[in-house]
Symmetry: C2
Subunit: 416 residues, 2 copies
């Protein structure tokens, strides 16, 4: 049977399951989520054994150590996955929430109600914990999920999904609420991208290449996640202590994530005082600065090219420039930003207002680290990714963002 | 210069204009909308002369009379367009609305604020009034718009856009807030669909063929509008007087629109009483019934095939079947529906609850005509189309649906 037929079959089973899930009560979904968490721990050895297989294969094929680290499961990480499922159980049910409502002039009662999408496809790389996270968030939001993980995590994902499906069935919901997509080749991704009408939404999570492919080739609606070319602009009216802390934290707190800073812009009026301090502090933390002429006056700073302004380093590197005004900072950001997160450090209210209004991004920070663009930090309790598109969801996506809406209109015989 | 370069240029000008529009106050936008309305009437003869050109061309090329009617502008239609712009001026500004907000544990103030998309591309057919409607709705929601009308309305659209742009400039906003897309061939549509990063959202309005092409080929995010295979289900607990009125109104009030009914399902328990009445009433209104065996027992009813269950007639035709239960009605709708609008007629609360929960559509009507799925009827005051997709917007789209959001996070030096 072709991969396309395989995908069609799992998608149709997911659709059937989605009908039941859409009607499941919060109580039933929460009990299921807790059963899923318990099962992951009770059957932890099974999952860890499968994971060990993936690790051996990865080591044999010469996978880099940092990727192997992302792939590795431990008892602690399993406990984290279980806790994540319990946390989702504790969150309010987005399904059924009335978004708006009114009674029309003719007496019709209009309600816009949150409903699940139906069938969600997740295409993701490396980390097997995403398997449990995505299953939990989709189940709570009433969606059946098709999980297409990377082939490097094949055994781990299969074990996790087997455990979760058993728990779903034991709790009285349909097993096909959670399915692994068959096929390891690119063909299964292609088939998912063509499955319009069978799959309601595709969410790619992973490297820039994967995301670009899905965004450009899918005819199933896509929520784009993640690339962050994130800027910190230090205004002339900045508190320099705050600025230093925010630049350092944004760049060095965790370099491999999309909300870490990749570019620094400093207002010319404070360059003389601030540049020596920020260069020294960044270099002391092991950061390589790719700077414009002003920054290149300091030892160890490398010259920046357009590639540096454009790049998401995801490493201990930062591009840095001095700008003559806030407007120039805005223009630089408009040209190079990936519209994920942008920050200004300033004590000047007018500058803060101007920056937040003029900069077009999922999140704009005033006097705060860019690392706060995160579902957990925003208090959403769960996050399926950070949307960098403007349609449907923008920024960290929690349970609400995993729903659509339906208008329910109730009358007693009204006609036009 | 290639069409692709043309589109790139207009899109870049639209982007520049969008920066100003995003910051324009409601007062300035409303004054502009009223100036646009005034200008359409003051320069009405100019627009009508251009429209006469289009009409002559259409007649010479043998365009069907109903298409020519859609194309034709009159003083009355111009007044309608002007009134539409004034109505939009009277609506609240969606930009700046705080969708949610809270203060986080660390003192950060989090606000999710509505912002314009930026640049919106409209691809539409025939009716030149869409040109003014779309320009008004986009301007009010702070978006620059690229208008790609049909070549049959070329002169009319050019005249309308010239008038509107003059009014925009006279009001102090950038002319490029409203632009006509150059090029009449399919090439300009193709170039728009490839303009990812330059155009933020594409909205196709028109026939099923156009919409399918845009949805399948565009790499710019799309909001799908409009195909409606709309069902009315008459439950065994229906009030038959209401049912008759709703079926007739849903089918015959206006046949050419997406919210008109295309299929009728009747519960078997009431078939004996209801079928003679509904067949007679539909036929008296000139409706041809494409029925299952039960309906085929009546004179003049034609046998229905799968094509009938699937079709959006947009004419005085209706597919009709008797179903043994509400669950069978739901199953039929799940199989054939385009998820636009579905209706149940029933006095039974449990049946109404079951139907509204189980049927997945943009709008579900209980004891009301399907013709109510409409931005004007819903009280939105303006409508850019009816979304039949689940991402971003579902159902009638008003001003709010023409916006994205941005998180603004304000602190005093918070780091992680």
């Amino acid at each position: 049977m072709s991969v396309e037929q395989d995908i069609r079959e799992v998608a149709l089973r997911a659709r059937e399951a989605s009908y039941e899930l859409a009607l499941a009560t919060r109580a039933s979904k929460d009990a299921t989520l807790r059963a899923m968490a318990d099962a992951l721990l009770v059957r932890g050895e099974e999952v860890l054994a499968a994971n060990a297989e993936d690790i051996v294969n990865a080591e044999e094929s010469g996978t880099p150590a940092n990727i192997i680290d992302r792939l590795r499961l431990t008892l602690e990480r399993l406990e984290g996955m279980a806790q994540g499922l319990r946390d989702v159980a504790g969150l309010p049910d987005p399904v059924g929430e009335v978004v708006r409502g009114s009674t029309l002039a003719n007496g019709l009662e209009l309600r816009q109600v949150r409903v699940p999408f139906g069938v969600v496809g997740m295409i993701y790389e490396a980390r097997p914990n995403v398997t449990a996270d995505a299953a939990g968030i989709c189940l709570k939001s009433g969606n059946a999920v098709l999980l297409r993980g990377s082939s490097s995590a094949k055994a781990s994902n299969a074990a996790i999904v087997a455990v979760l499906r058993d728990a779903v069935v034991a709790s009285g919901l349909p097993a096909d609420a959670v399915q692994l997509v068959p096929g390891e080749s690119r063909d299964s991704v292609k088939a998912l991208m063509r499955a319009r009408g069978l799959v309601d939404v595709l969410i790619p999570r992973g490297g820039a290449g994967l995301i670009r492919t899905v965004v450009e080739e899918s005819i199933v609606p896509v929520i784009e996640t993640g690339v962050g070319n994130v800027h910190v602009y230090v205004d002339k009216a900045a508190d320099l202590e705050k600025a230093l802390a925010i630049v350092l934290n944004s760049k060095t707190h965790r370099t491999s994530v999309c909300n870490s800073a990749e570019s620094l812009l400093v207002h010319a009026d404070i360059a003389e005082v601030f540049l020596p301090r920020v260069v020294a502090a960044l270099q002391a933390s092991g950061v390589t600065i790719h700077g414009d002429d002003a920054f290149c006056g300091f030892d160890g700073v490398e010259g920046a090219t357009d590639e540096d302004w454009e790049r998401e380093y995801l490493s201990l590197d930062i591009a840095a420039a001095v700008v003559p005004s806030l407007e120039h900072a805005v223009a630089h950001i408009r040209r190079w930003s990936s519209q994920h997160t942008e920050a200004i450090v300033t004590e000047d209210l007018a500058a803060a207002r101007r920056f937040t209004a003029a900069v077009d991004a999922a999140a704009v920070m005033v006097n705060a680290s860019t690392r706060f663009t995160d579902g957990g930090e925003f208090g959403f309790g769960a996050e399926i990714g950070i949307s960098t598109q403007k349609l449907h969801a923008r920024g960290p996506m929690g349970l609400q963002e995993m729903t659509s809406t339906k208008y329910v209109v109730t009358g007693d015989g009204q006609v036009r």
